[in-house]
Amino acid sequence: MTGATGKPAAPVGARPRGRRRATVRGRGAISPLAALVWLAPALLLIVGVVLWPAVELVRASRSRYSITGLRKGPAGWDNFRNVLANDSLGTVLTNTVIWVIAVVALTIAISLGVAQFLTKDFWGRRFVRWAVIVPWAASLVITARLFTLIYSYYYGSINAVLLDLHLITTPIDFLGSDKLIMPSMIAVGVFVSIPFTAYVFVAGLGAIPTEVHEAARIDGGSPWQIWRHITLPLLRPAILVASVMNMIYVFNSFPIVYTLNESNPGFSHDTTITFMYKLAFKSAEKDVGQSAAAGLFNVVIILVAVLVYLRVTRWRDQEEQ
């Protein structure tokens, strides 16, 4: 695990340092000690926020814990074996894949439209731009809690409206039905992910020079052609960043799944993140060690997923060029 965590950090850290050292030498004079003093706050932050928790996580995953949280001794690889042997692991992984792919794909698709809309000139654009930020600015727990009320079987506003319109005769059990809970959670996930993504795209659209579009129009390109062959390719870096950030963000999203899924027993609608939490504190396992092991699996899963995604998109780039 430590090998994997150290590896990707190295190139990022090493390159700028090498470059800076070259220029410093050129001018001739900063002692390594002085440099260290200047770097100290950043280094402390990295050690405290990234390295120390990671080390603790690895240590916890290799320890045997009592239900009270008391460390009882080393556990070897037992925690990892137990997580892999968990009956619900397959369900949880499937849920996670559906959750991440559906939320990210829908978010990107909808945000592309929203961003186009927000860059147009219209009366009240400032107001709309602010309004779009709201779901992002609100605390996820509060948003999720609000949606449990909106979805509620007995008091939910969606059911109330549908019943009043006589579209349904009995309420829909959005959060209790095994078929509907995942789509219901995905809808909320998309709702809270759109603002950030749309703003990344607004920035991306703003960075496209207007001359390119003008030239395309003069050449007689239809709006669809212009969007497909000019806007979309030039937006590719923004889409790449937005997808990767969203993948990580949605994968790690805890409050929505946990809150909306709260009254469902067992693991049948959990993703790997809520699975990890329940392993530690709510399930019959109640085992911090297993939860830490699951946490390390999570890190590996998202790392692999992101790298695969980046590789796939780069490969497509080269093919097109």
Binding site: P11, W52, I67, T68, L70, Y154, K286, L310
Partner: protein
Amino acid sequence: MTRRSRAWRVAAVGLGASIALAGCSGGSGAGSAGGNSSSGSASGPTTIKLVAAEYSKDHTKAFWDKFATDYKAKTGNTLQVQIVSWDDIDQQSSTMVQNNNPPDILNLNAYASYAKDNLLYSSDDVLSASVKSDLLPAFVKSGSYQGKMYGMPDLSSARAMFYNKTLFTKAGIAAPPKTWAEFEADAKKITALGGGDIGYGLPLGPEEAQGEFSIWLFNNGGDWKTDGKWTINSPQNVETLTFLKSLATQKLTQNNPGKTNRQDAFDLFASGKVGMVVGFSPLAGTLDKAGKVDYGVAPMPTKADGGTPQTFGVTDYLMAFKKPGNQAAVKAFYDLYYQPDQVNTFIKAEGFLPVTTTGIAAFASDPKLKTYLDTLPNAHLTPTDDPTWDKVKLAVQQNLGTAMTGDPKAVLDKLQQSAENGG
């Protein structure tokens, strides 16, 4: 900047973020800082820390803050108070123990696992004889692990059947049901009123499935443990769960009872839609405050004709962690807490029931509490004195609800098996 290095950078940022997240949620986050909770010298003033569960927003913090002032005035010691919501307290206490930084006093609904891990003072160390003799014997028993008492009760509750008098009158039901057969018939009558009225509010979701199932199985002569052996899948218990499932399949309950939490069932009852629900005194407090529902409180119906109604009692605990130099301060804490004007004030404000003999005498004058107080000394409790129960309880919470759509016997068989394997 090449595309390649950008990709690496994005990946590295993501990795950092996910590690940091995993680290926090894995429970290895920093414990609360600023705790010189055990200052070594036994003679001078000591600072101890209390982590207490939040029973209500209005009263819990107010009581403990006042208590800390009284404690300081009486003993010279300082009491740091940290109030934690019930949702978070398992996580917080586990993290504190894990980081070797437990509080001196912890308020929780379980203690046996902590006693088993040898983390706690027993009553011999920290409870004055006069205090211990005042505690109700049922709670001394439930607070004792392997012959020694570690779980000091802070308050208690007993369950009873709440019924909506307005709906009962509308459905032509004269008196609350005494047997399961009457209960089922009454639930049918209320459901038949139409208009969305619900016969019985049955919460078997993960919040407190073990509580709801307990009171029903006790009234069928069942128990979780009998003579020291687990009897989760006993014929009585299977019969009980099958009966509850039949209520669900006949649609006499609210929608999806296996996925309904207790609070949701209470909310439905408070909205006036539900005929009957198993409740406890804090629910009465909520209903009185809202003043919307005309309700009555009755003993639970029994399976057998002419059976004696059984009550399910619950108590939470104040346990004391062994830390160098804190024993005298902890003892002083208990001495003060069990003063009638402290413990009874707290219990009264929170709407619960007393844990002491003097408390029962003090509360006896309240006619609203009579139904509970009469039954309290004989209340059945869950086997909180067995550390295995701490895990079995979680397994019950996470699995019992599945019996509403699955096979009750299979669900109980599996729970029995996990209990026999030590949870």
